[in-house]
């Protein structure tokens, strides 16, 4: 599916930007923050990332950057505030960079995320060897995410068409890390890095696996091959 005329490319770009805005609105509407009674603020499903995943495999990197900037700026001005743009921009830039770098070797991405999730779980348990309440649920969730990432690694090794799963995982975790770094830079509270970052990495892996499966189904329906080499 090669689109070469300018009109086709402009049309497709507009369609993708609109789709990512609508999905971003759904992200806001789904109250994932209510998970664990508000204990984990600022998390969302990241459905809008499926559009960027399509871009990473089907467009050149410049169009991807333009798509990401359009999405961040428009959704910031429409639904958010100027400070919200700053955080999503930090997340978006880091996530897109990681996805563009990892798209040819998504299995490495999945493996790295599995290791990172295991490390974050270990960090949480090290901080509190007898977790209870919110922390216990987070430890369980991150352990599940670690298993999911390891499973994705095996899936990709068996069938390269599952590559988008690994890219999605790496992108979601990078997005969370980028936002976290921006927040820490604004608040000047580096202590948050060792209390909250492990949780965000684990939840990013869990959410990234979910959106990865969505993107995988979309790619299968559109007959997009992720192992294409060019």
């Amino acid at each position: 599916m090669l689109l070469n005329t300018t009109a086709q490319r402009v049309g497709r770009f507009g369609l993708l930007a609109a789709l990512s805005l609508v999905l971003g609105y759904f992200d806001r509407a789904i109250p994932l923050t209510m998970l664990l009674s508000g204990a984990v603020p600022g998390i969302k499903l990241g459905l809008a990332n499926t559009v960027l995943l399509y871009g990473v495999y089907m467009l050149d990197w410049k169009s991807c950057v333009a798509l990401m900037l359009t999405k961040v700026l428009l959704s910031g001005f429409l639904f958010g505030s100027l400070s919200a743009i700053l955080y999503s921009l930090a997340g978006g830039v880091l996530s897109l960079t990681v996805m563009l770098l990892i798209r040819r070797r998504p299995d490495w991405g999945a493996l790295a995320i599995a290791v990172l999730a295991a490390l974050s779980d270990a960090a949480l348990l090290w901080r509190n060897p007898h977790p209870g309440g919110q922390l216990l649920w987070c430890v369980i969730l991150i352990a599940l995410a670690c298993v999911a990432a390891a499973a994705v690694f095996v899936f990709i090794r068996r069938n390269p068409e599952n590559g988008v799963l690994g890219t999605s995982l790496a992108g979601a975790v990078a997005h969370n890390v980028g936002q976290m770094l921006a927040a820490v830079a604004v608040l000047h509270t580096p202590q948050l890095l060792y209390t909250y970052l492990p949780v965000l990495v684990g939840i990013g892996a869990a959410v990234g696996a979910l959106t990865g499966f969505v993107a995988r189904r979309v790619f299968a329906a559109l007959k997009i091959r992720t192992e294409r080499g060019d």
Binding site: G38, P41, G42
Partner: protein, 135 residues
């Protein structure tokens, strides 16, 4: 083409600068303790745990954990946060920010300090306000 990218980058930089308030806004911030303007005097009371309120990384006020108090922080742009200390728990009672994450974060008690995901923190990201309970 390259010029457009440079222009876009510049716009983003300017936007980023606009999103940040001036560095010395901490002077224009008013802190009210129990409904009256706070004069800056240390809040009396001894407790192993203390509550630290910081704005944009600048310490505003710190209080002993175990006494009932209400702290209201008002910023020049109208941003307002009310931190409630009941003696057993600390929580963000009210905030006029757009996402209300800080209010929904719940309370910090002596028992859940180690079990909360955020540890002893309650954070209002849009207002750059951090409340931390620590020793």
């Amino acid at each position: 083409m390259r010029r457009w990218w440079a222009a876009l980058l510049l716009c983003l930089l300017l936007g980023g600068c606009a999103a940040r308030p001036a560095a010395d806004t901490a002077d224009a911030v008013t802190v009210a303790l129990d409904g009256a303007a706070w004069d800056g005097a240390p809040v009396p009371g001894e407790d192993a745990l203390r509550v630290y309120v910081t704005l944009d990384g600048v310490p505003l006020i710190d209080l002993p954990f175990g006494q009932p108090h209400t702290v209201t922080v008002t910023q020049p742009d109208g941003a307002e946060n009310t931190v409630a200390l009941t003696g057993e728990a600390v929580s963000m009672a009210h905030a006029n920010c757009d996402n209300q994450d800080c209010v929904e974060m719940g309370e910090v008690t002596r028992d859940n300090l180690e079990l909360r995901v955020m540890g002893g923190f309650i954070i209002c990201l849009p207002h750059k306000l951090a409340v931390e309970v620590r020793q």
